[in-house]
Amino acid sequence: MLRYIIQRLLQLIPILIGISVLTFLMLHLIPGDPVLIFAGDKPMTEERAAEIRHQLGLDRPLWVQYGDYAAHAVRGDLGRGLRSQRPVLDSILEVAPGTTQLTLAALALATILGMTLGILAALARGTWLDTAAMTFAILGVSMPVFYSSLLMILLFSFTLGWLPATGQGGVARLVMPATALGMISAAVLARLVRSGMLAVLRQEYVVTARAKGLAPRVVVLRHALKNALIPTITMLGLQLGALLGGAVVTETIFSRPGVGRLAVDAILSRDFPLVQGTVLFTAVAYVLVNLLVDISYAAIDPRVRYQ
């Protein structure tokens, strides 16, 4: 197990380097002179431009600039936001808990809802319940998160007045964003769990177990569920990316502070250091979380470790 973990950690390093290279390159792939981004609103002569370029080190060879960027990044210095002049990492860490809260809530919701629906559909195979659940599933996958969010706000905030439409803090404010975000993953999961369980329910040893006279409930719970769990965990890991991406839109619609919204605002206001910082941070976090998921997956299913 330990060998597996170390192996994965080593594989991580080139990816982290790659991520940092890509985010570093963002600044230089912009059409036009990067100096203009930092110039702000002062009129600029050529000498002033050259001065700023020198000050920021933009006239050095690219790989030197990258080295500088990476060295600072590793220490946690991602530069300063252009508008606020605050260290980028501070701005990110300030809002990161919000995104974490939202993503975890959505994940929990997706898991509970998805598994329940999937199990019910599998057990009630062929009945109206099955059809209903699968219809919900395909609708859920087809409805973009920004549409379901707006519909929910329209229904639950404006028409019924049950839930507050914006902001952060308290369960009431978390319900709609988490539901909107988690719904898609729930739908995907439901379909997966259903087919996973159906496949297992047909397998021989289950038939054998029934033949031995064990109660049906025991059969289901012990065998089918456990084996349906593995693809579920895989799927959840994959859904994490979708959730993080969806968080970007959800945070914007519900006016919740979060890393996604920070990134969007930064892009809209051309605050490049902040854009780079949020992209880097999110990618690194995503990769690390995926690693954790993979490791726990390996812990459950030993076959994975020897691939």
């Binding site: 790659g18 991520i19 912009i30 707006l150 329209l154 991406g245 990134a263 992209v279 999110t282 990618a283």
Partner: protein, 298 residues
């Protein structure tokens, strides 16, 4: 006499089934799949509607009628008007052209580049494989929409850039599928035979191996178009894609958000359009997947 199914040097390998040709078999299965029929019909309707927008659209989509904004749905305006008095139905028809073409072109870009990369990576193996797969892992390190956002932020928010951004973020899956297929077929007899005969690498890749990808590729591309439509309209919704007054489903939804409480129709219909388009494609994709290879069912 009908040719018995056998390994062919070119194209598909399908087991014989009482003499029916494989293509007919697929179509038969497709015809039996409820989701494919419903999805296909719906998609056809939507596609026709947006293609024929110039003919079907009751009003000029960008002509404003500012003195009577935000009219609810009525006989004159079936889906109501937006804040500048523009007819929403017309804007949805015209906007669909952009929204859907972003999806198609983006997937085109992703599929072409992805398949080529995957084929090359799988066939040549070793260092090429390692390099390409590392790049793919790198792309996968960024959550989907974030990658598209970052690309649009860097290159600027124009229609071509939008297509490129959405396309690039979708490449990894195509690489994987292509590579997987190559790997599984590389050591088969028909490939070895082709090499013995003297076919060039290119010929082998493109004429012998590639056709076997068509099945999973079709499914992937179909479902991919749906996802690309969503990502593209999400970017426009956030203000990073197509901008008003040019109509597009995502930016119409953004405009509608402001009036959600009092003029729900401004956001409701564009969102519904996105949902129906995506739903139809998903249904069709599911049906295709079942028809092409029932073993692929999740």
């Amino acid at each position: 006499m009908r040719e018995p199914a056998a390994v062919r040097l070119r194209g598909r390998r399908w087991p014989a089934r009482g003499g029916r040709s494989p293509a007919r078999e697929i179509l038969r299965r497709l015809g039996r799949s409820r989701s494919a029929l419903v999805g296909g019909a719906l998609l056809l309707a939507i596609a026709l509607a947006v293609i024929l927008a110039p003919a079907l659209s009751p009003y000029n989509p960008i002509k404003a009628n500012q003195r009577s904004p935000l009219d609810p749905p009525s006989a004159a305006h079936l889906m109501g008007t937006d804040r500048f008095g523009r007819d929403i139905l017309s804007r949805i028809l015209w906007g669909g052209r952009l929204s859907m073409s972003v999806g198609v072109v983006a997937v085109g870009i992703a599929a072409c580049s992805g398949v080529v990369l995957g084929l090359v990576s799988g066939y040549y193996g070793r260092r090429t494989d390692v390099v390409i797969m590392r790049l793919v892992d790198l792309l996968l390190a960024f959550p989907g929409i974030l990658l598209a956002l970052a690309i649009v932020a860097t290159l600027g928010a124009t229609l071509p850039n939008l297509m490129i951004a959405v396309g690039i973020s979708a490449i990894p899956e195509y690489v994987r599928v292509a590579r997987g297929t190559v790997l599984s077929l590389k050591e088969r007899e028909f490939v070895l035979a082709a090499r013995v005969v003297g076919c060039s690498d290119q010929t082998i890749i493109f004429r012998h191996i590639l056709p076997n990808i068509t099945a999973p590729l079709t499914v992937l591309a179909t479902l991919g178009i749906a996802a690309a439509i969503i990502t593209g309209s999400a970017l426009s919704f956030l203000g990073l894609g197509i901008r008003p007054p040019t109509p597009e489903w995502g930016n119409m939804l953004a405009e509608g958000r402001e009036f959600l409480r009092h003029a729900w129709w401004v956001a409701f219909f564009p969102g519904l359009a996105i949902m129906l388009a995506v739903l139809s494609i998903n249904l069709l994709g599911d049906g295709l997947r079942d028809a092409l290879d029932p073993r692929l069912r999740p």
